[in-house]
Every structure is written in C-alpha cells, then in structure tokens.
Symmetry: D2
Subunit: 306 residues, 4 copies
C-alpha cells in the first residue's frame, strides 16, 4: 500500500484578529493531529480556507507546516487555483517548500469539460516533479471528476490518488473497483459521516474536516476497521456523526461555508487547541449563542467535560 | 447620466505561442474598439480570460491598457478573485494603474450567502478608493446577485453600476425600475443577443463579448436605440445574432468556455485584428475546420469579403 | 399569420370550498378575458393548476370552456401528463370536447432525452387529429425543449407553435429567426414581465398568467406593439411589472407555486372576478395580511379604487 | 422490527408488443422474486414505470399482484401522482385491491415546499386507511425529503417507513439515528450499489431495481449482513456492482431512464424470466448490439452460462 493512507485531516488555519495566520495556534493544531495518531496532514485544502490566502501566505503556511511536521507523517498540500498555469506555480512552490504530494482540483470559475480536466492534470504532471492527488469537490468547482477521468489519470500514472469530496459513494466505489489492481494508487474519502462505509468498501484513507476537533475518534474508527471490527467502527462513526452536527448550528444565519468551518474553529477554541475563532472576510464568525450550543454538543459527545 | 454608458466591450486578450500576452495584437484590439466608436472598454473580464493571468500579468495588462486608451474612453478593470482581500489587492493595483472603475464578482469557490456578498462589496468599498461595479455572472461564480442585493448596494452608494451577465432579463428589468431615480447608477447587460431588448428596457450600456469581432454593429445598434428606431435596432441585432452563432461551432469538441472565446479569437484572426488564436491552458484552440466554418459565418454577416 | 396570436391568457381555475371547480366564477373569468379583447384562451395550463384535476374534471373544464367561449376566440387546451400515451388520451378527449389546439409538455417524472421528446410529439401527432403546440416549461418538467428540437418539430409540421415559459429569451429569439419563413408557425412567450421585448423580437403572441388579473393591460401592450409604439408598450409593461410583484407577497411562507397562483386568485377575488381564493391541496391559500398587501398593489397599479 | 424489511425489489412490468402488460411474464417475475427469498415486493414504483400506466392498468396490476403474491410476502404499492388528491384516489384503489402499504412521493410537476410535503402526507393519512411509506426520489420529483421532514412524519405516525432513492447516504444515516428508538419505523435504501453500507448503518431493508435480474444475490447479501459477515456482504455487493453496469450500456443513445430499465428488461429476457423487452412510449428499447453486451456482463457475473 501507498505511504499515503489512514486518517489525513485537512488542517484548519487559525487566524489572528488582523486576519494573519496565528502560527502559534496552527502549530498546536498540527501537533494535536500528529499526537492523536493521524497518518498524514493535508494543508491548504478547502477546510484550510485556501482561497482566502494570498501567494505569500500560502508559501509560509507550507514552509511552517513542513518544519513542524518534520517528516513524522506525509505532508499533502493543496495547490488550488482556477487555471492550469496558476496551479503549476503553486505546485512548484509547494514542492520546494517540502510537500510530499500536491492536491489539485479541476479548473474553476471557467466552465470546463472532462477532456480539459485530463489535459489540466497532464500539464501539471509534466511541469512539476511532485506526486499529484486529484481532488473531486464539485460543491466548490461545479464539475465532477467522472469515474472514467479519475481511472484514466490513475492508470496512466498522472495521479497517485484521489480525495473524493463529492458525496457520490457509488461512483467512489466504482473507482475503487476499477483500480483494485493498482496497489500504488490511494483513494480517500472526504466524507466525515460515512467513513465506516468508505473503509468497508476498501478506501485507503479518509480526510475528515472534523478530525481537527476529534482526531482520536477517527483514529479509533480507522483502527477498528483495520481489524475488521465493523460494529465498533459503526459505533464510533455514529458518535462522530452526532459531533458533526455542530456544522449546522449557525446555518441560515451565515453561509454554509462559514457555518461549517466556523463551527470547527469555535469547537477547537473551546477545547483549547486554538486561541481565536476568527474567520476570513467576508465570512462572519459564530456568535456566543452558537458557540454555547456547540459546547453542548462537545459535552454530549464526550469531548468537553462539565 | 453616468460617464459609463454605451457599448463597453469586454476586451479579448490575444496570446503568443508561449502563452504570454501578445501586446502588439492587444493594442490593435483596443484601437479597433475605440475607433469603431465604443464608449468604454472593460479589460480583465471573463472574456479576457482573467483567471488565467497571474498577478504580474494582470498588472501589465492594466498598465498597457491605460497607456493605449489614454483617457479617450473610460477604462473598466475586472479585479476578479475568489475572496474579499484578494479582490482588494487587485483593486488597489488597478486603481494605481489607471482604472476608472473596477468590476467585482461575488466570491467564488466557496459557498456564499447574499449577506456575505453585501459584506464583500462593502469591505472592498472601504479599502479602495475607486468606483465599484458589481458583476453578476452566476455561470462562473455559481451564485446570483439577487435584485435586493444589487439595489441595496446601489442605493447606499457602495456600487456605481452593474454588469448583468446572468441572462435573467426580468430580474435586470426590476433592478432598472427600482433604481430609476438614481441617475448616477448605470446598469449594463452582458447579453449579446438581446441588446435591443435591454436598451428598450432602459439599460445604460451593453458589454457584448462579440463586439470584439464586430464593434461597429453594436455601435450602430446603440445609436438606433438612442434615436428610438427600434426596427433598425432589431434588424442590426438579428444580424449580430447570426454572427454570434460562431460560439457554438466547436461546442461538443471543446468546453463551452473554449468554444466561445476560441471563436472570438479565430474570427478576430481571420479579420486581421489579432495575429494568433492561441488559448490559455487547458483550453484547446479551434481547429482549421472550425475556423473555416467561422469564416463562412463572417462572410454571411458581411464581415469578411470573398 | 396563424389564427393563434395575440394575448392568450392561461386561465385560472377558481374552486369551491370542497375543491370542486366553481363554474360560476370560472365563466366570469372567461367572459372577463374575452370582453377585454384577449385573442384566445389557454385552459388547463400550469396556471390552471392542471395536474391537480382528475380526468373527469379535466373533461368538464374543457367542455364548459368550449360552451362559454363558443368560437369567439381560439380555445387552446393543455393535455399535460407525464407520458406519451396518457397525453394522447387527454388530447383525444380535448379534441372531442372542442379544443382548437392542444398544448403539450415534454414527458416528466421520468428522465427524458431530446430524442425521446421528438418521438413523444410525433407519436401524439400520429394518434390525434388536432393541432399540437409545444410547451417549454423546464421549471415543471425539468428538461428544456432545445432550439433544434422545437425547430425540427415545427419545420416537419408536427407542431404548429410553441409556448415558451423557459425564461430563455435568447433561445426564443433564435427559434423566431430559424422559423421566420414559416408563417404558419406561431411562437408565444409565457413571460409576463418582458412581453414588450418578446414582441419587439417578433413573437406572435403572449401567454401571461397575470392577464387573468389585468387583461386590458396586456391588450393595450399588444396594441401598442402592433402599431410600433414601443415607448407606450414599455410604459404599459412597466406598470404590469409593478402589478406582477403580487406573486412574491407570500413567498417564503408558502411554495413558489402557491405564492404565484394564490396571488392571482386573491387579486381576482378582490376585483370581484371570482368568489373564493381556494387553493388545491396541498397548497395553502394566502392569508388576510397577504391579501391586504396585494390590494395595496392593485391600488397602486390602478386596478382597485379606494 | 416491522414486518416490512429485507430485500423488497421494485418489480419490473413486462409489456406485450401492443404496450399492454404481459401478465404471464409478470407472474413469472413475481414468482422469481418470491422463490429467491425476497422479503417483500414493491409494485408500481419508478422501476415499474408507474407513470406510464393509466388508472385502469394500475388497478389491474395491483389486483394481479395481490392474487399472485397471496400474502406470502408484504405487497407494497406505489400510488405515485403529481398532487395530493390524485394520490389519495390511487391509494384508495390500492388499499381495496390488497396493498399492505402504499408508497408515496412528494408532489411533482409543481414546485413544492417542505411544508406542503408535510401537509401532502398528512392529508393522505387522513383520507386513506392504509400504512404510508415515504418515497424520496429527487431525480424524478426534483425536491428532496429533508431529514427533518421524514423524521417529523415518522415520529407523529403519519408514515411507517421510508424508501430513500436520493443517493444521499449521509442524510439517510441521520434519519436512522434520529429514529433509532422508533422500532416500528423501517428505513430502506433504493441504492443498488452500496447496500452493504446501508445495512452496516442499520437500514431495515433494500429496494434494488436490479434484484429483478439477480434476487438471489441480494438475498445472499442481506443474509451475510444479518449474520455480521461484512466481508462476504462486500464481496457479494461488488459482484452486483459489476452486474449493475448493464444500466450504462445504452447510455448516450437513449435516455438514462430507458437505458436503466431497458437493461433490466433485456437481461431478464436473456435469462428467460420475461418474454419481451418492450419499453413504453416514448422510450426506445435496447438494440441487439446492446443486448449482446449485456449478455456478456451476465456471463461475467455468473448469471448466464455459456
């Protein structure tokens, strides 16, 4: 199996009041994840609010992450941008700064075909000497990486893996089946709430945003699945599903994006992992009443005492 | 009425073989538009393939445009990016480089609410001393600027105008009605094929991509509408509709984006306005057979002789 | 030009408290429309809440309509159902009951291709000896009648016309251009708020739901357009746009369908055209506060005195 | 646990050349399913092409099914129509004809809110003395039964269960968790390709269309899950996933609906279960080349010898 596997959280990026990165808190997040037994970290993904950071900040985040992680686990880096050459530029920086692999979406803002998506990944492969992971996230880029696209890219060696945040579990399963003989390819799900299912289907890893809040839970879930104890896996997953309900606490008042990552930050602040729950503009942070409801859920799920 | 009005084409960006901007051709495009009587130019919009250009190239394009235009007509500049602070950075550069106004979309990649869109425009207004135009383009950003959002921003003075590329003519009409007493606000349609309608409704301007190919046609259409000759306006529009069919020649083989702007470039090359029809990666250019079909349409619509 | 032309309202179906059709009110609606100078009536369309009526009621509505209309204007009848053979059955009944033409959507509930849509209309044409009008209403059937589909069906003589409720004015214009030489084909828009535009483009008729409330306004708009007075047409349209805002009064509290047709009924009740504003289940009627706000709009637009 | 549980296939409806139901074949389908150990049958669902049948045919299908099934397993009957009162009429007929429960979607054709959906189910509950099952199938009705809607209806006793064909496994899981204490409620998935997952999550039953072709496979999968052998469940599911690829053989040439159910019929004809693979109009049947490719898949998955 690939060295990329297991629980690989997309790392939350805590901010200072002036919207710069709070690196002291950020270091604590990385240590929290690695100490809990996570098998890798994914920085500058959607959960990291990657598109809010300018080029300079992205580079600093990668360099800081590489220094903190220091080879203890693989470092995956999102090099997410709207068009091919901009992704290439980010990817060259990520490689130089110590990324073990870069994670790349389909082009966005523009309307894109599957044929262009194939070319997009091939141009990047040719331009940068770093392993590529495809990132299927139609809710952000508004196009799906079709089964045939993923399988073609994996079989020809353009990509070494997939992070599937499409919510289309059936399609994910077919990709697993189509690539069953390609032992070096790793397929990971971005779904937080059906991880036991994904592992039963044979997924090689999981990238759950809420593992920022409770990495131990996902490591236990992974371990249960590895030993074939699906009843324990399900039980752990169900507790994590209850925890995941924090993402809907502010829904309606703020956008879905702000509600979800805002909830992660509010919970991590309550748990003492980060110092503030600042959100990048134009996202509004959660308010005190919402934070209190999140604390209630943290208590019910055993994360917060009293 | 605002100084921003009339035919304001979104300027195509011609490229060299190495994907750098072909400034010699680009200068010819600007001269071609101004000489035809266009009332403004809009650079770094979707038709300019803005998201394909890096920060340095964007700055050069604005500076080059400002030098060529030299105050003859207003220069509108797209400062399009996924998040508020990145738009602010682009807008500060655009202002310094000579933009008369900047054109801003809703945030993209992230999922965004109308409330966040309001804040987005207000943060930009506060940060940059340059007039703001809202750009409604749901096909790219996947959220619509609702009537109430546009009207609120216009009435409070955050934006001075709107470019509506949503295709929702009814909603555009209601914005015109709601803002009828705000003479300083200008509302422009991005639709190429119903410009006569938009002008009959009272639109202050039009931003037709295909005016890169035939600016004279749109100026004639504008003039006919100004003198109330709706029959002539319709006749001109119908010829331009026939011309607009070039955008579908390559559809199916390449993506919609590549098919449309690729057709503009192929036609402009045939007409001698630009030297190449290179497309930025991963977009593929049109092929010879498609270019020949486009030439056929250029002949039928009177743009190409023999 | 076809005998089908001009203002052809989709007739609202008033109900009794027990949800049966209130034929006394219904007769008044038809007389109201014909006396105002409407050029045809369209019964059992979406505005008539066609899918709420069972087979027996549909037949009675057609027979009653034919008796009242009595050849004074053409009677168009929606024979809307999910699949081909069910539409054929409705169409045979409509023909026998006196329909001058039947109006048919694409299949729905099932997922349908353009090729199946072509076959759908051809099977119906072969089975029933009555003129067919295509009804493009993607908001209900969730598939668009593509330009090529409409043009093919019209050129081969399968359909004699189109009612376009898709909101895609550009596509409608291309259908008009493609069929300009087919003088016997009539193309009508279902849009209430851009009727002046549609007529400037050359539309042969309009099917505005809100003409149930104010038929005189649409007849004036039509007459102005016929004599080429586009300024008067626009002015009338703008008043009707203000009137049309009644459809949003209840939005949010009830569904969009209930809010729109519920508003028509509430307004028609206030104007004394119908006796009740009952809605078919599960739609809820508008409440008193909403009806009062609608009365306010009726006053502002000159329909209700004091 | 409810008497409704286990493998409950949505029964395919074979047709004669004249599009009437081929009851001889239909009887064989029912016997084939019951003999294989299925725990119930669901007639007049989407797989049964319910919307293609008129009222008389629907009644005959229910009566015939009741006679054949004869109480050996529960008989679920789809009473699918666009509006409340039409569903009530179908449901009264179904009850009289011997249905053990009726299966009801949200309203369609009309645009519907969650509040109207709640009322829809409550009106039906009040009008018909037969257990109600909610059918979540947004691909057909274009609205999702939200978690809160399903849970409210189940807790108040309006529905006794859910058939979830939405593909939203996460939402399905939350419904399972929310209703964990309501032992009399049964939640079934309509997904064919992630049945092992659904059962691991605690689903009470499965409604796989392709069980018409291979009911033994789904019964084995169910049995493996019941004894906690998730490895065997997964292995069986993976074979069935390979079989399920028959649904895409004709895709592109015919619509998705025709391709899927057409493939079921072609396979069942090859296996001798039904006599023809006729499709209702306007759906086209699969052609010989497609049928041959389906036979290839039937051989690979062990269903067809030589």
């Amino acid at each position: 199996m690939s060295k990329f596997k297991g629980v690989v959280p997309p790392v939350v990026t805590p901010l200072n009041d002036d919207f710069t990165v709070d690196y002291k808190s950020y270091t604590r997040v990385l240590e929290h994840l690695i100490e809990a037994g996570c098998h890798g970290v994914f920085v500058l993904g959607s959960t990291s609010e990657v598109v809010f950071h300018d080029e300079k900040t992205r580079r600093e985040i990668i360099e800081h992450s590489a220094k903190v992680v220091n080879g203890r686990v693989p470092l995956l880096v999102g090099t997410i941008d709207a068009t091919t050459d901009r992704v290439i530029a980010h990817s060259q920086i990520a490689r130089a700064a110590g990324a073990d692999a870069v994670v790349v979406t389909a082009p966005f803002y523009t309307v894109t075909s599957q044929s262009e998506i194939l070319d997009h990944f091939r141009y990047i492969r040719d331009a940068v000497d770093v392993p590529l992971v495809a990132y299927d996230i139609p809710v952000c880029v508004h196009v799906k990486l079709l089964r045939q696209t993923v399988v073609t890219l994996a079989k020809e060696g353009t990509i070494i893996g997939l992070k599937d945040s499409s919510g289309d579990d059936g399609n994910f399963r077919y990709a697993l089946l189509d690539l069953a003989d390609h032992k070096d390819v790793f397929l990971m799900t971005g779904s937080e709430i059906v991880v036991d299912n994904a592992l039963l289907m044979g997924a090689h890893g999981v990238v759950p945003g809420i593992a920022n809040v409770d990495p131990h839970g996902y490591v236990r879930l992974w371990d249960a699945a590895q030993r074939g104890d699906w009843v324990a896996a399900r039980r752990e997953q169900e507790r994590l599903c209850r925890l995941f309900e924090i993402v809907w606490v502010a829904q309606g008042r703020v956008s879905g994006g702000a509600s979800g990552i805002g909830a992660f930050k509010a919970a991590m602040k309550s748990l003492g992992i980060i110092d503030t729950a600042i959100m990048p503009r134009p996202r509004a942070p959660l308010n005190a009443e919402e934070a209190a409801r999140i604390d209630g859920i943290l208590r019910e799920t055993g994360l917060l005492q009293i």
